[in-house]
């Protein structure tokens, strides 16, 4: 069988614009290319602005992970200006970030990823009574009853009967890679619809503290939502009761719907535990500070690096070892484009050298993406839920070890299955369960401090620019739903002189470097990866979606001269 060139563009059910090209042979993918096809240049726009405004600008890098850039930005400016935020503000940020993870991961599972595994059309032929039996055997969720499932099926039948399939048109229904029985498909479709309603309810936590979602408001120095239990206009008992209800609702759905569904569906796709592993190195910068953000021992999800799938050793993450390559990217370096540059010396001059649109193939081009290729000690790294769970597992994290063990036991697979497409999807579920359980603890901490009379949510120390040093620089990290994220800011004469972000999707979607090493998307697609029908590339979607791509985050940094300005402050 001859080599077949495959193009999937647009990749749908992601954030932003991604193109995948591949070569397939005998039902397997031999090579793949990942192309970021959008560039926005937001950081250029940051120059000369008030650093206290930065969070709002960079928040707009992404409206899906709508809090993460704002949090990283506030932390970067607070690091630069030596601001320690009140404990309440830190807890509120954990609650906001925690709900972001929960809501984002559930939406990802049901609305962005599930249709890779769930055949909606097959659900039409399910027996609702049998489906209810399965549903009730895996979960106490009250809406898994026969009448509920029958109502969903009836609604679906009528929808299909209109002949207007809307978002379900163009799906790969009936593809041989779909393995679920009709009853499990029906259960999943039912939860697809339920999750749509659930997510808009639980995300209201952002609205209580930030006034809206997407893009809730943040504040350098704390949070703007004041606490006064005797006022109608602030965080008070009524608001806290509402929050407690959302947190309960979130945890119930995660524990009774998302997690059992994930385990049940994974049971039919165990072979995907040996597919799509790809890059064997993992990086996590850590998240959920339970004390000051600078206290790295108090992170709920720890920081570290796993190399060559070796879970017996967690390496320290040292930012000095990061280099960026532009071998395959539409940029140029003054000193030649084949060597990697440490971000201290980083530069980016965009230089588009690709073909004029419309494109046919990019795989024969040397340069084929707007993403650069970050490497750690010359190695490509995966970031995201799997990286976080592996680093935590290797660090002996009790909660993570327990739940990973439970998942492997239920699926009857060994730890090796974690390094796969299925492993990335499972790790996302595992951390969602852990965060959903943590939320109650964080709300309890907030309530406890309020009870003791500590209602501070903001420190005005260093709010006024006149109190700032003439020059300052700071680093803000966050481990976002899609992986390790860092923001670097430099402030001069009360204005931003340089601003830079290194984002999860740049690590994961990076193109080939000068040594020819592929980025994580590319390596995963070429790792024991099937592609039965190049015209219906369902398997490619499975692996790409297991990373939860967020392409708008992969923008690059330009200063006013059109050169990237990158500074890394070693912690």
């Amino acid at each position: 069988m001859a080599k077949t060139k495959v193009v999937v563009d647009p990749i749908t059910r992601i954030e932003g614009h991604l193109r995948i090209e591949a070569q397939s042979e005998n039902g397997k993918i031999s090579k793949a290319w990942a192309t970021s096809t959008q560039f926005r240049g937001i950081e250029t726009i940051m120059q000369g602005r008030d650093p206290r405004d930065a969070w709002a600008f960079v928040q707009r890098i992404c409206g899906v992970c709508t809090t993460v850039h704002a949090v990283a930005s506030c932390r970067a400016v607070e690091d630069a200006l030596d601001i320690k935020i009140p404990a309440n503000a830190n807890t509120i940020r954990n609650l906001v970030t925690g709900m972001q993870f929960i809501q984002d991961h559930v939406i990802h599972f049901y609305h962005l990823h599930a249709l890779d595994w769930v055949d909606v059309v097959s659900a039409l032929s399910a027996d609702p009574a049998a489906a209810a039996k399965i549903g009730q055997s895996i979960s106490p969720w009250p809406n898994n009853g026969e009448s509920e499932l029958r109502a969903v099926q009836t609604r679906l039948k009528k929808f299909v009967g209109t002949g207007q399939l809307g978002i379900f048109a163009g799906g790969y229904w009936g593809h041989p890679a779909y393995k679920l029985p009709p009853e499990v498909n029906l259960l999943a479709v039912s939860h697809y619809l339920e999750a749509l309603d659930w997510q808009r309810n639980v995300i209201r936590l952002h609205t209580v503290f930030g006034g809206k979602n997407p893009h809730p408001n943040f504040l350098v120095g704390g949070m703007a939502s004041a606490i006064n239990v005797d006022s109608t206009a602030t965080i008070n008992a009524e608001r806290i009761a509402d929050l407690a209800g959302m947190i309960k609702h979130a945890r119930e759905f995660v524990e009774q719907v998302y997690w059992p569904d994930l385990v049940a569906i994974a049971g039919f796709y165990k072979d995907w535990g040996a597919i799509g592993g790809g890059v064997p190195n993992f990086l996590a910068c850590g998240e959920f500070p339970e004390a000051d953000v600078r206290d790295l021992d108090k992170l709920y999800f720890p920081r570290g690096i796993i190399l060559d799938k070796d879970l017996t050793k967690v390496h320290e993450y040292d930012q000095k070892k990061v280099e960026e390559y532009i071998h395959s990217s539409w940029y140029e370096y003054a000193g030649g484009g084949e060597t990697g540059l440490h971000p201290y010396k980083g530069e980016t001059t965009p230089k588009y050298t690709g073909p004029k649109a419309p494109w046919t193939y990019l795989q024969d081009e040397t340069k084929y993406s707007w993403m650069k290729s970050p490497r750690y000690e010359g190695k490509a790294m995966q970031v995201g839920p799997l990286a976080r769970m592996l680093v935590a597992y290797g660090s002996g994290h009790k909660d993570v070890r327990e739940l990973v063990g439970e998942a492997l036991g239920k699926l009857n697979v060994g730890p090796g299955a974690l390094f796969s497409t299925l492993g990335r999807t499972a790790a996302r579920g595992i951390e969602t369960v852990l965060i959903a359980r943590k939320m109650e603890t964080w709300l309890g901490e907030l309530n406890g401090r309020i009870s003791n009379g500590d209602t501070a949510t903001f420190t005005k120390r260093r709010w006024e620019p006149s109190s700032w040093p003439k020059k300052a620089e700071g680093y803000g990290y966050t481990d976002a739903p899609r992986g390790a994220l860092g923001h670097w800011v430099q402030i001069e004469n009360e204005k931003i002189s340089r601003y830079q972000c290194v984002v999860p999707s740049t690590w994961n979607c990076s193109p080939r470097d000068a040594k020819g090493q592929e980025g994580p998307y590319e390596a995963s697609l070429a790792d024991n990866h099937p592609l039965v029908d190049p015209e219906r590339p369902l398997e490619i979607l499975r692996t790409i979606h297991s990373f939860d791509p967020c392409m708008a985050c992969g923008v690059h940094v330009l200063d006013a001269q059109g050169r990237e300005v990158v500074e890394v402050k070693v912690q």
Partner: protein
């Protein structure tokens, strides 16, 4: 005459399909249309026209393009309360192309889009989120191998109307902020020959979007708009004039710093930079996320995100608006508030004047801001 029955009419089903499912013949259907024509007093000659209208009454096709953007506007629509996104997708519209939710990918969805555009030529509603980068021949956003501009022009040509959803599609938003490295512009700068509605905001409230769609489907036309192309039913009033903290402005009670006594009493945020007095938006009325709260309600000043070029004209975000109509530029808001509190007669007169902002601050060296940005002018224009 055909009588109502217990047989449920599936939303989304055309009337003809519904009748067929009840075993009603074409002849009976035409009789029904004739009777309807008489009842409506338009004469039996209109029967074929009524039949045609009923036959076409299926879920209208909506094509949604995502160009240079962050997907926040899509997320906002996912948060709508009534109709919910599930109802919208299954019962109200036929969303025939939408990147974030579509099951298929690549060639399959491009084919589905072409099929929907050709089957509904001249009738479909085009929703656009994201801006259009014009520099570097448009290579800063390429979808399916084609530039955002090409993709937009193609889809616009067969659209009945365009909903430019969010600040990016409206005027370019954050990537168009000074110095606009990619040459990002809004839909109205590229498409000149179609009705365009600007659903302003970064992002807009999801319920404004669905309300606009429902308005279009219910009344068969686009809602009336202001000079910015924003629907009046949502953007007809200034935040300041509908604000739940307005009484504190009038009483001269201001938050001076975050988390101060005023903040803990829910006082006016004008002094810490609120742009509500210069912003036309439904936030205080519609509120956000099932009416849970809204930015000012949660203690943060309004950023002015429904106004064009707000990243340049409304920043620094924590800076106080420079002047208030009817008062000297140097006059501070607390002085105004105090004046209102002191003299009732003077207060009444000033109250009206204080709501009228005739000038918004323009950032030095901003070249995206039109020369005339008088709020009143553009609003009434």
């Amino acid at each position: 005459m055909i009588m109502p029955s217990a047989h449920q009419w599936v939303e989304g089903e055309t009337l003809v399909q519904h009748f067929e499912s009840r075993g009603i013949s074409r002849r009976e259907f035409m009789e029904f249309c004739g009777e309807m024509a008489v009842i409506l007093g338009i004469g039996s000659a209109a029967t074929p026209r009524i039949a045609e209208a009923f036959e076409a009454a299926k879920r209208p096709s909506v094509i949604w393009l995502q160009l240079q953007e962050c997907t926040g506007c899509v997320e906002s629509v996912l948060r709508t309360e009534s109709p919910t996104i599930g109802d919208l997708l299954l019962d109200v519209i036929s969303l025939d192309y939408q990147h974030t939710l579509m099951a298929g990918a690549g060639a399959a969805v491009e084919k589905a889009k072409q099929a929907a555009m050709s089957a509904n030529k001249g009738k479909y509603l085009l929703v656009v989120t994201g801006s259009v980068p014009l520099k570097e021949d448009g290579m800063y956003t390429v979808i399916g191998g084609r530039t955002a501009k090409t993709v937009l022009e193609e889809a616009a040509s067969g659209a009945a109307a365009i909903l430019a959803l969010g600040a990016c599609a409206h005027w370019g938003s954050v990537q168009a902020a000074r110095p606009n490295p990619t040459g990002a512009v809004g839909v109205r700068d590229v498409i000149k020959n179609k009705p365009i509605l600007n659903i302003a905001g970064c992002p807009p409230i999801g319920d404004v979007v669905t309300a606009t769609v429902v308005h279009y489907l219910t009344f068969g036309r686009l809602p009336a708009v202001d000079g910015e192309g924003r629907p009046l039913f949502a953007y007809g009033k200034r935040i300041h004039d509908q604000c739940s903290r307005r009484a504190h402005f009038d009483a001269g009670q201001f938050v001076e710093t975050f988390d101060d006594e005023g903040a803990r009493k829910g006082w006016c945020l004008y002094e810490v930079g609120c742009k509500g007095p210069a912003t036309f938006s439904p936030c205080p009325i519609f509120m956000w996320n099932d009416r849970t709260s809204w930015p000012i309600g949660a203690g943060h000043p309004c950023l002015g995100c429904t106004e064009p070029h707000f990243w340049d004209t409304m920043t620094p975000f924590y800076g106080r608006l420079p002047d208030v109509g009817g008062f000297p530029v140097e006059e501070r808001a607390d002085t105004i508030g105090l004046a209102l509190a002191i003299g009732a007669a003077a207060g009444v007169a000033a109250h009206g004047a204080a709501t009228v902002f005739t000038q918004i601050r323009r950032r030095r060296s901003t070249n995206q801001v039109p020369e005339s940005t008088s709020e009143e002018e553009s609003h009434n224009g």
